[in-house]
């Protein structure tokens, strides 16, 4: 079977990111998964963990601790691994890091970028990646001709898990030129949330400018918590400072496909709908009966969120008390 390289991202705290499991699982359906990462610390725990996620080989590009170079080590590690493993495809997550590393590898290898895939398969000899265009309005399948396919994969759309294996490991010392690279001078980690992750959550409750203030936005969070849902937002709510930008749903934010999406005080601009219109069931509460969000809602309520939502929350609470 041919080798499939997977770029493994590490968090600012050095942990393996969640996308690694999804990518290794996808890689195992295409060939032999090879995990590639760059780090100054060769911790044996990482190799075991990647093996448990399905990596047959781990290619570990070792860097100096200082200076901490921005993505250049990852690109170099991929480049070395491409030469060693002669893969038939490279997978990276469609994250900020994954996309930039993939793009730089395409330029370096004269390969082919297949961006934002939601599915990847072999069709005979050629690899075919599916991506979702214009907020799910189109589904486009593409293949790579004449070069190595380097594929960025949307996180949260893949299911399944590769069988656990004991990974072989190769440690390679990376030679890097700090002059030609961006440098990381400091970092702050995001505070881990106990709520479900927005990209993968089965339910999402989002709030918009109609929530009126950061204090009032707590109502969105309260409903999310009784439903065990992730919290989302419109760009206007992010711009107004009600919620962190990582919660933004839409064209320039996260795309979500949950079972249930509830939009509170969101008008439903086309750029917002681009990130949520593929949800299974959409509920909207908005005081303006002409708000475009109602055009995509399965259940629309013309009303005041501050009246409807508290009533909804107590109705859900009394139901769950009644049934338990």
């Amino acid at each position: 079977m041919s080798n499939i390289l997977v770029l493994v991202e590490l968090s600012t705290a050095g942990n393996i990111s969640r996308s690694a499991g999804e990518l290794l699982s996808l890689a195992s359906t295409l060939g032999t998964p090879v995990a590639v990462l760059a780090t100054p610390h060769v911790a044996p725990g990482i190799v075991t963990e990647l093996g448990s996620l399905g990596a047959q080989h781990v290619f570990l590009g070792q860097t100096e601790t200082e200076p901490m170079l921005l993505l250049t080590p990852q690109v170099e590690a991929l480049w070395q691994a491409v030469q060693k493993f002669r893969p038939s495809a490279v997978l990276a997550s469609s994250t900020i890091d994954g996309r930039e590393a993939a793009a730089r590898l395409v330029a370096r290898t004269e390969g082919v970028l297949l961006a934002n895939a939601v599915a990847v398969r072999f069709d005979g000899e050629r690899i075919v990646a599916t991506n979702s265009v214009f907020g799910g309005s189109y589904s486009v399948e593409s293949t790579a001709e004449g070069g190595l396919p380097i594929i960025t994969v949307q996180s949260g759309v893949l299911e399944g898990r590769a069988p656990e294996v004991a990974a072989h490991v190769t440690v390679h010392h990376l030679t890097l030129n700090p002059e030609g690279s961006g440098v990381v001078e400091g970092s702050t980690a995001v505070v881990a949330s106990s709520r479900p992750d927005l990209r993968t959550a089965g339910k999402v409750v989002s709030g918009g400018r109609g929530m009126g203030s950061k204090e009032n936005f707590a109502l969105v969070e309260e409903l999310a918590d009784v439903l065990d849902a992730a919290v989302g937002a419109s760009r206007a709510a992010v711009d107004a400072g009600y919620v962190a930008q990582s919660s933004q749903v839409g064209q320039t934010g996260v795309s979500v496909t949950p079972e249930l999406y509830i939009a509170l005080g969101i008008s439903g601009a086309i750029q917002h709908r681009a990130g949520m219109q593929t949800a299974k069931t959409i509920v909207a509460i908005n005081s303006d009966e002409d708000a475009p969000i109602f055009d995509v809602a399965d259940f629309g309520i013309v009303g005041d969120v501050f009246a409807v939502v508290p009533q909804l929350i107590s109705a859900i609470r009394s139901r769950s008390q009644g049934s338990s």
Partner: protein, 259 residues
């Protein structure tokens, strides 16, 4: 300081956008082209530096069909000093790798200290071309940053990634891409619109860049296999709250096993 701002003309995101079902390429006839909003923010970053640093030159560079000149005119009326239009039939419909090759070749024709691009276009959404350009030109890349600060020999910014925020720096010359968290762009004023007409717009073809069109057909490339349009979503039930909508919604969710 010379700053080159990469600009892409895209279909307006506030209208329905379409793909040609045969080629998978953008149907440019279906929507009005506008400067991608994030590129306007990139231009704003450059113009703010120019406002406070006399002698700064800001050049807008765009690759695209004939109509792209409108986007460049707008950039000039906002305050850019000059524009370069990369225009050639053999560029149309090119994938990210080919586009980055042409842009890199165009950048080689001119000296610069900083290239400012957007983190991701609203049509392609690949977020790849500027990174490819940086790699081809062997320049440092600071991607997806906000709070950009340009200094005489370096550039810094904040990079928000999934796991946190990084403070990043690169020495010049460098390539940066800004996110939509960068300040909103200014509007062209009347004086800007008048002077824009007198500012230089240079058109470059592949021949001017010594790029051979046959290189494109020989090069590795992405090829569309199929295009399928998804049916538009239908509106469902809509009720007016008369005091019990919250309870009705709870019933709807329970009936759909969504509680």
């Amino acid at each position: 300081m010379k700053i080159i701002v990469l600009i892409k003309q895209v279909p307006d995101t506030s209208e329905d956008r379409h793909l040609d079902s045969a080629t998978g390429l953008l149907d440019r006839s279906s929507t009005e082209g506008v400067i991608d909003e994030v590129n306007e923010r990139g231009l704003e970053v450059a113009l703010q530096y120019k406002d406070s640093h006399k002698g700064t030159e800001v050049v807008a560079l765009s690759m695209g069909p004939q109509g792209t000149s409108q986007a460049l005119r707008k950039a000039l009326s906002m305050g850019a000093d000059a524009a370069i239009h990369l225009l050639d039939v053999n560029l149309s419909g090119g994938d990210a790798a080919w586009t980055s090759k042409a842009l890199s070749a165009a950048l080689k024709t001119t000296a610069f200290d900083l290239v400012v691009a957007g983190n991701e276009s609203t049509d392609g959404r690949g977020g790849a071309v500027p990174a490819m350009v940086a790699e081809r030109l062997s320049l440092p890349l600071l991607g997806s940053i906000s709070a950009v600060d340009i200094h005489s020999t370096s550039v810094t910014g904040q990079r928000e990634v999934e796991s946190g925020t990084l403070s990043v720096r690169a020495s010049l010359p460098a390539v940066i891409t800004v996110t939509e968290r960068s300040p909103e762009a200014r509007f062209p004023n009347f004086k800007g619109m008048l002077t824009a007409k007198r500012k230089p717009v240079k058109t470059l073809s592949l021949a001017d860049l010594s790029l051979d069109p046959s290189e494109r057909s020989a090069a590795a490339r992405s090829v569309v296999v199929s295009v399928a349009a998804r049916p538009a979503r239908q509106a469902g039930k809509k009720i007016f709250d008369s005091g019990t909508a919250g309870v009705e919604l709870a019933e709807f969710l329970a009936a759909g096993r969504l509680l």
